[in-house]
Symmetry: C3
Subunit: 200 residues, 3 copies
């Protein structure tokens, strides 16, 4: 479900009041999608506010570490769930609720377990630490049925080369939301342009 965007802005809000300006900026920049990380206490409120204010936006929850956090995120309206690693508990809950789950898998053993659970799109995190595109190429050769969402250390400069590989479903990035909402709107616009250039 994330393929259509190509790039997923990954954002951690320190304060609830930062959420709507930033999410609005992403929409204005042509990228109506965001992963809001459960790394701060206001994550749940930010998802709720975002879903209400921008009903056409696709808003998911990131850094979901447990079934309890997943239940919170779903109650807030999260449309997809992302974890840095694979959690059986979260996987089962997402399957039950028919919500897209994107767990991070870093090794062939972890990928095989996710495959056995029926998943075919996986986060690859931290992508730059684990060998970047060349690592994904090696893993994709052994798992032709899998598509990957590299996250961590990806930048506007490396976005195009990731997207050019057909096993990349999308790229996760926090670089898009580093500055002000105005910066994010511009960064989103440039990222969308790169997605269109590479994918046609």
């Amino acid at each position: 479900m994330l393929e259509q965007y190509g790039v997923i802005p990954v954002v951690t809000f320190r304060r609830e009041e930062d959420a709507l300006p930033m999410l609005g900026a992403l929409c204005a920049g042509g990228l109506p999608v965001a992963e809001i990380c459960f790394r701060t206490d206001c994550a749940k409120e930010c998802i709720e506010a975002g879903r209400k204010a921008f009903p056409d936006m696709c808003i998911g929850a990131g850094t979901v570490l447990s079934g309890a956090q997943c239940a919170d995120a779903l109650a807030a309206g999260a449309q997809f769930i992302v974890s840095p690693g694979y959690s059986e508990e979260v996987a089962l809950l997402c399957e039950e609720r028919k919500v897209f789950y994107l767990p991070g898998c870093a090794t062939p053993t972890e990928i095989m377990r996710a495959l056995a659970a029926g998943l075919t799109t996986l986060k690859f995190f931290p992508a730059n630490v684990y060998g970047g595109l060349s690592a994904i190429r090696a893993l994709a050769a052994a798992f032709p049925q899998m598509r990957f969402v590299p996250t961590g250390g990806v930048s506007e400069e490396t976005l195009a080369q990731y997207l050019a590989f057909d096993k990349i479903a999308a790229v996760g990035g926090s670089w898009l939301v580093k500055g002000t909402p105005a910066d994010a709107e511009e960064a989103a616009r440039r990222a969308v342009r790169i997605v269109h250039e590479v994918r046609g």
Copy 2:
């Protein structure tokens, strides 16, 4: 059981008719062993044909991801089973059938799980991505009972330095079977020479 060869050609056949010429070339080159990957639909037929045509060859199945695939591979006559990661299901089936199982393990946690299941030889894949020989040296220090089969990014140029480390049981390589059967015969001959030079 793979130590005696030192090098294991890893081959993915697109068409069943390619199998016998290539397997015959490896035998002619002095390397009567192959891992045939379950990455294509004809893998099962290739193993069956190879076993019948070259009864003295040691033919295993690679990229085995599930118990069902493992059962297929064993039914076709596979003499060993290789997985990119560790699968409990495959491990149990191989133990039951007394077939050598070589799963990929990339982290100390994965190695400990394999050790608890009684395995003492592990694939290390993708070897070049996960730090190559220096990674294997670090892991071998913590797991002196383990021997490794690095696969992925190994080449004729790096074969000798891998084999020189006594914790390397064998090296898996697709470089041997990249070209025509005639190329493979020559590559096998050169690889066998390197194995003899290093191991005496």
Copy 3:
């Protein structure tokens, strides 16, 4: 419990008679802590002897791979247990005995499993192979509740930069005990000075 030392000497004794001189040297150097690896048969006796001779020293067992080894280590008086990877069996035994368990976790999936088991300090091993400090920074961003003990390839030269990152609980190192007891005493003294300089 290892934070107060900052550096944990990791030592493998070939002979039981080497233990007391080396442990005494570490105490004399101001670093009354050691992880004694279960990589040699005399590990249990070395822990027992060390605990008796140096009651104020903090002595743990390293390279603990199974519940049986853990029970042996605890019977010998080990005050903490270290594994290269995560073992559920060892984790349960340590929880039951209320002994600090420090397992190695290398991927986000492994970290999430440890977190679900209630652990908040993890070994990161082999640290240099898995990306060193930049890998720990990336993982710590996703797991703000976790603290790490990098081990493997750390040296006196890189100690300060590891310790400067507040998510580093301590650093494990075999460089301290490479030479004679007299060398170790000096190396311990220099390491303690670095810990004080960085942590104040």
